[in-house]
């Protein structure tokens, strides 16, 4: 139950690209072909292990509809990671990536790790966007890239976990200030903190939150 870190993720991208399905596959390991349109934001959470440490991913799955954009933008702030999703069978969803990226960068912190995801890789016959194009876009904008299938679960775990690994590395490198929660990272209740004031607290109190 207890975790060393909590990372906040957002999932963004055009409507119908499979954001909610990716989340469901990751949290519940199942695929639901017909999904209600997401209103505003929905949530999912799962515990993963990186480097022997328990990390809780708290995932904010946003609505893709344009009309919800002004609301969902509010949720970007304080995310440590973002999954930017497009549909490999719909060229337009790929074309909109630049707008999504600008939006994300503008409304979140600069260190946010962004994973570009070309979803629906199982529909090879209907492919409109080549894998190379996705790779090129990711390289150009400094993103990690992966093609996934929420339906077959291919690469879904990897997409979420690799993003977490990247965030974790940034923490180790000191890029992220883990004491600033605007970065979307929270230290878990049992994690020994480096902050002297806080560790003082914990020494004297079994129930010390260990957070700040």
């Amino acid at each position: 139950m207890a975790y060393a870190y909590l990372f906040k993720y957002i999932i963004i991208g055009d409507t119908g690209v499979g954001k909610s399905c990716l989340l469901l596959q990751f949290t519940d390991k199942r695929f639901q072909p017909v999904h209600d349109l997401t209103i505003g934001v929905e949530f999912g959470a799962r515990m993963i292990t990186i480097d022997g440490k328990q990390i809780k991913l708290q995932i904010w799955d946003t609505a893709g509809q344009e009309s919800f954009r002004s609301i969902t933008r509010s949720y970007y702030r304080g995310a440590a990671g973002a999954l930017l999703v497009y549909d490999i069978t719909r060229r337009d969803t790929f074309n909109h990536l630049t707008t999504w990226l600008e939006d994300a960068r503008q409304h979140s912190n600069s260190n946010m790790v962004i994973m570009l995801i070309g979803n629906k890789s199982d529909l090879e016959s209907r492919r409109e966007v080549k894998k190379e194009e996705g790779e090129a876009f990711a390289r150009e904008h400094g993103l990690i890239f992966m093609e996934t299938s929420a339906k077959t679960a291919s690469n879904v775990e990897e997409a979420f976990i690799n993003t977490a690994k990247e965030i974790y590395e940034k923490i180790q490198e000191g890029v992220f200030d883990i004491n600033n929660e605007a970065n979307g990272i929270k230290i878990g209740p049992q994690h020994p903190t480096t902050n002297s004031t806080l560790s003082g607290n914990q020494g004297g109190q079994q129930a010390g939150g260990g957070c700040c």
């Binding site: 139950m1 207890a2 906040k8 209600d36 209103i39 505003g40 934001v41 949530f43 959470a45 708290q58 904010w60 009309s67 919800f68 002004s70 609301i71 509010s74 949720y75 702030r77 304080g78 929660e181 605007a182 970065n183 979307g184 929270k186 878990g188 209740p189 049992q190 004031t197 607290n201 914990q202 004297g204 109190q205 079994q206 129930a207 010390g208 939150g209 260990g210 957070c211 700040c212």
Partner: protein, 491 residues
Amino acid sequence: MSDSEAPAAPEVSTEVSTEDGSPAETPDRSSPTTPDNSTDVAPTRKARRRPEIQPVADVKEKPKVEEQPAEAPTPSQSTVSQGGWGYWGSWGKTILSTATATVATVGQGLTQVIEKAETSLGIPSPTELSARVEEEQKEQAECREVPRDSSAAVESAFGMLSSLTSVVQSTGKTMITGGLDALEFIGKKTMDVIAEGDPGFKKTKGLMNRNSTLSQVLREAKEREEQQTAETESSDSEKKMVAHYGMLFDEFQGLSHLEALEILSRESESKVKSVLTTLSGDERVQLRADLELIKESFSLVEFDDEEVDEKKDEDGSEFERELTESLEGLSVTATKEKLSKACRSTCNQITDMTKPEQEEEGSEEGVKKTLSVEDVHTAAIRSLAELTARSIELFHKLAEMILFSNSSTEASALSQLTVVLCKEISLLSKKFTSCLTTAGSNEKGDVLNPLITGVFLEASNSASYIQDAFQLLRPIVEISHIQRSAESTEQ
């Protein structure tokens, strides 16, 4: 601890009562009407109030009914009516100080502390209270033709709690009345106690005062529970009690929805403020008047506690109907469905808990006895956590829909919704405690009381969270109003 989006807007309306012990804080945070010194005013008010309740109950009841409740719980009843009320004002404080002296951890530690306070002050024990409720409910079933009687009787059973309410009501403005409110009083105290009893927490209190939001406080509580669980995992004796509201609430995504709602609320609030600064003259006066009206409808949440006890609503269908009614025209069907479903399953659970025992006392007793008080307690805490999380989710979705559709949403409809939700929490907590009493008829008081107190406490907390979430909608309704009037003048 400080939340991800906290730094930007520290002085938002969502601050939680960690800084002082004012019990009036929750219901009236946004309303200027409740003074902080209400605790001190309380004793006299209560002393006056108590006699008011008793006669009402007496007059309404048939003589036969009247005698029973008066006889059965004699010790506590007499303590209560004879000058025991003088203690009431200090009761809350006593909890606070006792708890501060003890190491108060969420849940178990606290309930024990409170139980201690109860016994030492001669307050009717939760077991007795709950037993009385049950008794009244039985009577209610017997004399269905006069439902008002029993409701009055239940009210008298809850008299101890109701009179606590007057603390909250000291300004005369009625917030949610009756037993639940008193529970909330205890609940808010709990939060304070948690804050006070934990030095580690205290040290960070300076930050909390300015930056804390409800979701942060909850998150903290949850973390402490997690840690507690981790620590007590090895010691079996402690393990039994572990049904952690905060952790369950988070499991049902209550925290996330609350956090998201807070974000929307905060952003709307600052938008409203900036609109106000750009306006001048008549426009500004007009808007201020409009906002005042909205504010008012957010401060007047009333409901008649008698209703809560009158109806049984065994399968949750009544709740569903009321919920549907209050949500009419608001497009949140999916979320409403989730909440109804949670309620239905809770009701089924309660039915399962109560029915078999009554019907098959002789034959299958051995089998039925497998349901321990801990099981019932766990089910109760879990249900309360789920229903509360779903309620918060509903408010969050409503907020999104209001912002999204920008359609006119009457604040009164939202306050009606709040009432429906709080009533349901109140009703279910009463049902659960009576299940507890039944299941624990062979248990000693020191086993049963903390469990019952625990359920009441979490029910009270649940109601607080729901009301807080309701308050978070205010800036959203305000900004929606501003946008709509801007649109209409443009045309």
